[in-house]
């Protein structure tokens, strides 16, 4: 699926390398599957992997990651020995193959991230600017990729509207390279402005990357408090727009256009902008979003031992208060009925914990007070952080409070997962974390309105009260030595 060729000497023989998107094993012929990485990130990764396997190669021929290719196909496209840098496109100008000097690729990784991978004319012009030398642009006379579909079997969703985002970023990069003699000093900037949970993941990923390819991030200014609390090393470029509505009323490409308008010409001139919202389906791999983002920022994550989910958490804390009484903070409201922890289960949990002498607080749910829980307000990040410190454990849904408490505060947390993937948004279990669900065969369905199986407004994949209470007591025992 992800393929490339190494050329030992100009005009010499070829050595082929085929890779696939990893589903977890990260075998030597697999590449990490990152939903937030644009196609160009895979061009860079392929180049890295091929260079590592063929260090003496002079040239690398990298197949377009958007296409399901193999070395056999790539080799069949070449007409004679490779004589120099080239870009091969289909009949209509869709890039098929990038042929570049291996040294150039290694030295220009962060600039190559602005390749569109959907427009050969733009990519050709950008590459000539970066290389400072002519590059042969060849067209395959017969092959026409046609209209690239909205989603593909290999996990991409790069329909025509999304392709425009990539092209705009490439066009901007061309402008910088062609107009600014100091383009090598221009910063690389991540475009990933929303939403709250994703901002947390990106910040934690940036803290966890040794040598990021980026130094700045475009973020909605409404997330200033989250950025401050998350301590991302990426310098924010504040986008003074409300974040993308979650109801689908504004498309991501539409929003991107508004964002560029608002950011203004100056920001465009001073930044190689790379689109790093979702380009791929996050649910096809089991990796956590923080690792997805680490790959986007430049980590190769070639083996399982590189993954944060298989290492100790970056941050771990715990409550200093006495464990009598044990205090639990709940966040059980996900914004949409199907994302809420079912209210009947919630009542059973709260009543049972109260009977065990455990004090519970629930964020923003006064209706649950009669079941033994105090309702508190924590709609600002600092209020949430303060509330958390007054509790031994946090129990939350797949939403911002959970991601923030677990990852930024490092607090002992339990994640409740219904329609979304626990692997992607919850992650590995350790002393301070576990993700619960019922492992129904429909999980994760990603539904946002009603259950696609049982048709009701509640998700039956949420953990049963017994399981949740068991997990709370287990975690309290492990971290605090609590025994009721």
């Amino acid at each position: 699926m992800l393929s490339g060729l190494a050329v030992r000497d100009v005009g010499g023989g070829l050595e082929g390398f085929d890779f696939g998107f990893s589903k977890g094993a990260l075998r030597p012929n697999e590449i990490f599957d990152s939903a937030t990485s644009p196609p160009a990130r895979y061009v860079v990764e392929l180049a890295r992997r091929i260079s590592a396997a063929a260090p003496s190669a002079d040239f690398l021929l990298i197949g377009n990651p958007l296409l399901p290719l193999s070395t056999k196909i790539l080799a069949s496209w070449l007409q004679g020995p490779v004589q120099g840098p080239l870009l091969l496109s289909d009949r209509d100008g869709f890039p098929l193959l990038y042929g570049l000097p291996s040294r150039f690729v290694a030295d220009h990784e962060r600039f190559l991230l602005t390749l569109s991978a959907v427009d050969a004319t733009l990519d050709h012009r950008l590459l000539e600017g970066l290389l400072g030398a002519p590059i042969t642009l060849q067209k395959h006379p017969k092959l026409a990729i046609g209209t690239y579909p909205l989603s593909t079997a290999t996990g991409w969703f790069q329909g025509s509207e999304r392709q425009k985002l990539l092209k705009i970023a490439t066009a901007n990069a061309i402008k910088i390279v062609e107009r600014r003699p100091d383009w090598r000093q221009v910063a690389s900037t991540v475009y990933h402005p929303y939403h709250a949970g994703s901002i947390v993941f990106f910040a934690m990923a940036a803290r966890d990357v040794a040598t990021p390819l980026f130094s700045r991030q475009v973020i909605c200014s409404s997330y200033k408090d989250i950025c401050a609390a998350s301590d991302s090393p990426l310098t924010p470029i504040w986008l003074k727009l409300p974040f993308l509505p979650r109801d689908g009323s504004v498309g991501e490409p539409q929003y991107f256009a508004h964002a560029l308008d608002r950011l203004g010409e100056r920001v465009m001139e001073d930044n190689f902008l790379v689109f790093m919202r979702y380009s791929r389906n996050s649910a096809v791999s089991p990796f956590h979003m923080i690792d997805h983002d680490r790959f986007s920022l430049g980590e190769s994550l070639a083996t399982q031992s590189d993954l944060r989910q298989l290492r100790p958490p970056l941050v771990q804390n715990q409550c200093r208060l006495p464990t009598e009484p044990l205090r639990i903070l709940f966040h059980v409201t996900g914004g949409l009925p199907i994302k809420n922890y079912p209210v009947e289960r919630c009542k059973v949990v709260l009543r049972t914990l109260a009977a065990l002498g455990i004090e519970c607080s629930v964020i923003g749910r006064p209706d649950l007070e009669e079941w033994g829980a105090g309702s508190i307000e924590a709609d600002e990040t600092d209020l949430l952080a303060e509330a958390v410190t007054r509790h031994h454990l946090f129990v939350g849904l797949d939403s911002f409070p959970h991601h923030f408490v677990k990852n930024v505060l490092g607090w002992p947390s339990i994640g409740l997962f219904g329609t979304t993937g626990a692997g992607n948004f919850g992650g590995g279990w350790n002393s301070h974390y576990r993700a619960l669900d019922c492992a129904l065969a429909c999980h994760p369905c990603g539904a946002e309105q009603t259950c696609p199986v049982f048709t009701g407004p509640e998700c039956r994949n949420y953990a049963k009260p017994e399981e949740l209470i068991g997990a709370i007591l287990d975690m309290a025992r492990q971290i605090y030595g609590y025994s009721s």
């Binding site: 977890g24 089991p286 009542k347 065969a441 429909c442 068991g470 007591l473």
Partner: protein
């Protein structure tokens, strides 16, 4: 976490000519899915070691740890085909057995008898030749019809003793039943396994035949399969199998990508699982079923007992095969490999977690939750 796939060993030259029968099988209705035909591995002959090795290699490559092969009493002796696969059972790959005990009335007798003891010895001798993929510390023996044993506790006892004497060692006895209700584990079984789709309809069928349907079938106005067979939505069928699963006892999951056994039911009574767009298999839904079955098993069974059964590697006759086929290519094989990779990765991501509470504690919590539910009902 082990993945064991049910395996048909009948594909041998000079055997039942299963390939030929598969090729000749024709559905009698356009609503029935045609049976697949093999592609990558071809119509292999398991008696040829080279071809058998290729089959095992492809299964291993998908992440499968072993096969479950049939064992039955036939012509005065217990028989299985472990010898065909034994040369390739190494490096973590091994076998388990499905014992078709339903044809043996001797095991239904209420009291132990000399013939029964002799039969147990014969079974144990037969099992001694099996290169096992250990489950729960022993050779896994799935008992297809455990309800037939009227003295199940005694039978499980003599089987274990016989296995011990014959050198088989520990036996892990698995009852082919969906729910324990204290009946099987208490009588010496180690676990249960979900029955196959034809033996356990885990949800309501999507076709509810009426008397009018019947009359229309008789009148030639309606396809008889609408009345005679049972159709199920694959998603409903599989979700139902995982719903409230922990309340059914120690039941190991059986995962299947598709199922339509019309070949075995020419007169009606077939079980047909149907996916969206009227397709026999959906790689995504099947992958989710397999991955979640692995995650459930990891959470609810002790480390050595964690097995998920795949139905099946090559049971082409009921449409459940994951071997590459001419229709689907390697879609289901890939889905299997991907789901196993995803499941194993997530299981690996669990570290430094203390063992869960003991059973007494769990029971107390369950009682307290029930009390809270009662209060909830009253209010």
């Amino acid at each position: 976490m082990k993945i064991l796939a049910f395996f048909e060993t009948g594909y041998q030259a000079g055997g039942d000519d299963l390939w030929r029968r598969l090729e000749l099988a024709r559905p009698a209705s356009r609503r029935l899915f045609p049976l697949g035909q093999p592609s990558t591995l071809g119509t292999y002959d398991l008696a040829d070691p080279g071809q058998a090795e290729a089959v095992v290699a492809l299964a291993r490559n998908a992440g499968i740890d072993g096969f479950v092969i049939d064992c039955r009493w036939q012509d005065g002796a217990y028989r299985h085909d472990a010898a065909l696969l034994a040369p390739f059972c190494r490096d973590g790959f091994g076998l388990a057995l499905l014992w078709h005990n339903g044809d043996e009335p001797i095991w239904a007798e209420p009291l132990l008898s000399e013939p029964m003891l002799a039969r147990a010895e014969a079974l144990a001798d037969c099992l001694s030749a099996v290169p096992a993929q250990p489950v729960g510390g022993g050779l896994a023996l799935i008992v297809e019809s455990p309800k037939q044993w009227r003295a199940a506790a005694r039978v499980t006892g003599i089987l274990r003793q016989a296995a011990d004497r014959s050198g088989v060692g520990a036996l892990t006895l698995i009852a082919n039943r969906a729910e324990d209700k204290g009946r099987f584990v208490e009588q010496g079984f180690d676990a249960l396994i979900d029955p196959p789709p034809d033996q356990w309809h885990s949800c309501q069928p999507s076709n509810h035949a009426t008397g009018l349907d019947f009359l229309e079938v008789l009148g030639g106005l309606r396809d008889s399969t609408d009345y005679l067979d049972r159709y199920f939505a694959y998603l409903d069928f599989t979700v139902s199998r995982m719903l409230n699963r922990s309340q059914r006892g120690r039941v190991l999951p059986r995962v299947f990508p598709a199922f339509h056994d019309w070949l075995a039911h020419p007169g009606g009574g077939a079980t047909q699982l149907v996916n969206r767009s009227n397709r026999p298999a959906d790689a995504q839904l099947y992958g989710m079923f397999l991955e979640n079955a692995m995650l459930f098993t990891e959470r609810h069974f002790p480390a050595g007992d964690q097995v998920v059964f795949l139905h099946s590697w090559n049971k082409w006759q009921d449409g459940s095969q994951i071997e590459p086929s001419q229709w689907d290519g390697d879609m289901l094989w890939n889905a299997t490999r991907d789901a196993i990779d995803r499941g194993r990765y997530q299981i690996k991501c669990k570290s430094n977690v203390m063992p869960a509470q003991n059973a007494a504690r769990r029971d107390t919590i369950a009682m307290m939750c029930d009390a809270a539910r009662q209060t909830l009902k009253q209010t």
